[in-house]
C-alpha cells in the first residue's frame, strides 16, 4: 500500500478523533461549570452529591467509564444497542470524565478571586448572580486558561481510548495499517499528526490567553 494512501486513511481517522475532541469540549466545558457550581453549593446534599461524582470519575479509568457508558443500557436495562451509536457513547463518556476535571479547575479559579470583591460588589448594590457573571467569572476564565490547556491537550491524546468500544479513530487505524503492511510508518505518521494537532491547540490556547490579558 503506497505511503500517500496510508496518510489519506490516517487523515480519515484524524477526522473521527477531531469529532470526539470537538463534541467533548463543547459538552464538557459548560458541564464542568455546572459541576463546579454543584460542588460549591451551600446545600450539603447537593455539594456531597457532586463531590461523590468528581471522586468516582477521577478515581476510575476513563477506559472503564467508556465501556460502562456504552454497555450499561444493555447489561443493566436489557436495551438493544442497535440504535446507540458508538460515537455518541464515546462523547458522553469523555464529556462526563472531562467535566469533573474542568469543574475542579473552575473551582480553583473561582476560589482564587479575593472575597473582598464579592463584598465590594454587594456594597455597590450588585446581586450575587450579577456579581458572579460580570465580575468573578471573567477573572476566573483568565486564571484557568493554562490549566484548561493542559486538559485539552490530554484530551487530544485520550481520543485513542475510543477504540475500547470499537470506534476506529486515528491511532486504531494506524495500528491496523501497521499490521496489514508490516511497517512502523503509519505509527510514526500518527505521532506526527498528534503533535501537529496539539501544536495548533497549544497555539490557540496561547492566543486566547493573550487576548484575555487586556489589563496587562
Amino acid at each position: 500500500m503506497p505511503f500517500g494512501e496510508m496518510l489519506l486513511e490516517l487523515l480519515s481517522g484524524l477526522l473521527v478523533s477531531a469529532e470526539i475532541f470537538v463534541f467533548t469540549l463543547a459538552l464538557a466545558l459548560p458541564l464542568g461549570l455546572v459541576v463546579a457550581g454543584g460542588r460549591m453549593s451551600r446545600n450539603p446534599f447537593v455539594s456531597q452529591l457532586f463531590r461523590l461524582y468528581i471522586s468516582v470519575v477521577r478515581g476510575t479509568p476513563l477506559m472503564l467509564q467508556i465501556l460502562f457508558v456504552y454497555f450499561a443500557p444493555y447489561y443493566v436495562f436489557g436495551c438493544s444497542l442497535a440504535r446507540y451509536p458508538r460515537l455518541l457513547a464515546t462523547v458522553l463518556a469523555f464529556s462526563m470524565n472531562y467535566a469533573a476535571y474542568f469543574a475542579e479547575i473552575y473551582r480553583g479559579g473561582i476560589l482564587s478571586i479575593d472575597r473582598g470583591q464579592w463584598e465590594a460588589a454587594k456594597a455597590l448594590g450588585l446581586s450575587a448572580p450579577r456579581t458572579f457573571l460580570r465580575i468573578i467569572l471573567p477573572q476566573t476564565v483568565k486564571r484557568v486558561i493554562p490549566a484548561i490547556g493542559n486538559e485539552v491537550i490530554t484530551l487530544v491524546k485520550d481520543t485513542s481510548l475510543a477504540f475500547t468500544i470499537a470506534v476506529t479513530e486515528m491511532f486504531t487505524l494506524a495500528k491496523q495499517l501497521a499490521s496489514a503492511n508490516t511497517t512502523m510508518a503509519p505509527l510514526i505518521a500518527a505521532g506526527v499528526f498528534y503533535y501537529v494537532f496539539n501544536y495548533i491547540v497549544a497555539w490557540a490556547m496561547e492566543r486566547i490567553e493573550a487576548r484575555l490579558s487586556y489589563y496587562d
Binding site: 494512501e5 465501556l67 454497555f71 438493544s80 477504540f163 470499537a166 476506529t168 491496523q176
Partner: protein
C-alpha cells in the same frame, strides 16, 4: 441550582428517548455484523479503504448468498464478549480458536486447522521446544496458546509444562507488536498461529524461521452468542455449500492459506 438540576434531568430523559430503548431481539438477521480483530492478517485486516482477509471474504460471500447486508466491525479484542452478548455484533469470525473456549459460545463446526508454532529470528540458537527453557516468549493477549502456556488450560498439560520452562511469558496486545518485539530482540520467540506466522515470514523475507515442532493443534470456528443456534445454523449451511463448491479453497489460495488446512466437509 434547582433549575440546573431540572435541566439536567430533562436532558437525560431526552437522551434516553433519542437513543430509544428496544428490548434486545435475537435471530432472523437481515444484516450480519461480523466482529473481528483488524490486527490479524491474513484473516482480517485493513486493505486500502476496505477490511479484507480470508475470514472476512468468507463472511462477505455467505452474506451475498443469503441476501444479507455484510458489516465488518473491527472490535477491541478484550471487549469481544461484551460486544457479542450485548448484540452489538452478531458473531466473532476472525481466526477464532475453539480450544479452551468450547463452553463460551455457540460454535459452527471447525473450518480451519491451525497449529500453534514458534517463530524465532533466523540464526537463533533456539532449534527445538526444549531450547526455549530460560527464554522470553511472547504471545498475543487472550488467545488459547497464552492460556495453555500459562498453565490455565487443564486439558493441555504438555503446553503448561513447556510454559513453566520459560524465563518469562510476555503477553502482547497483538501479533504485529509480537513480531516487532521479536525483531527488536525484546523477546526470544513468539508462539502464534501458523497462518499468521507464514504471512509475517513472507512479508519480511529472510528474517524469521519456524521451529519444526509445534506447541499444540488448534481449530478455528465461528463463535455466536450462546444459544443463538438459528443464526449459527444458517451461516454454517452456507459455509458448507462454499466448502463443497470450492469457493472456500479459492479464497484460501488468495491469502496463501494451505488447502490442507481447510477441514469443513
Amino acid at each position: 441550582m434547582k433549575k440546573i438540576l431540572l435541566m439536567l434531568t430533562a436532558a437525560c430523559a431526552a437522551a434516553m428517548t433519542f437513543t430509544g430503548c428496544e428490548k434486545a431481539a435475537e435471530g432472523g438477521a437481515k444484516k450480519l455484523v461480523v466482529g473481528f480483530d483488524a490486527d490479524f492478517p491474513p484473516y482480517g485486516f485493513k486493505d486500502g479503504k476496505e477490511y479484507k482477509g480470508f475470514d472476512l471474504d468468507l463472511a462477505r460471500e455467505v452474506c451475498r448468498r443469503r441476501g444479507w447486508t455484510f458489516v465488518a466491525n473491527p472490535i477491541n479484542w478484550d471487549a469481544k464478549d461484551m460486544e457479542l452478548n450485548s448484540g452489538s455484533i452478531d458473531c466473532i469470525w476472525n481466526g477464532f480458536t475453539m480450544q479452551g473456549r468450547e463452553e463460551g459460545y455457540t460454535w459452527t463446526e471447525p473450518y480451519v486447522d491451525n497449529s500453534q508454532v514458534v517463530l524465532v529470528k533466523v540464526g537463533s540458537p533456539i532449534k527445538t521446544l526444549k531450547d526455549l527453557a530460560g527464554k522470553t516468549v511472547g504471545v498475543q493477549t487472550d488467545t488459547p496458546v497464552q492460556k495453555a502456556l500459562a498453565g490455565k488450560d487443564d486439558g493441555n498439560k504438555a503446553a503448561a509444562a513447556l510454559g513453566k520452562t520459560f524465563k518469562k511469558l510476555v503477553v502482547l496486545p497483538n501479533y504485529n507488536n509480537a513480531v516487532m518485539d521479536l525483531d527488536s530482540g525484546a523477546v526470544d520467540a513468539v508462539a502464534l498461529d501458523v497462518g499468521v506466522a507464514k504471512k509475517k515470514m513472507s512479508d519480511m523475507p529472510g528474517k524469521f524461521e519456524l521451529l519444526k515442532e509445534i506447541v499444540m493443534t488448534e481449530t478455528y470456528g465461528i463463535g455466536f452468542k450462546k444459544g443463538n443456534v438459528q443464526l449459527r445454523d444458517e451461516v454454517q449451511a452456507t459455509l458448507k455449500e462454499m466448502a463443497k463448491d470450492g469457493t472456500m479453497a479459492k479464497i484460501a489460495d488468495q491469502y496463501k492459506i494451505e488447502r490442507a488446512a481447510l477441514i469443513l466437509k
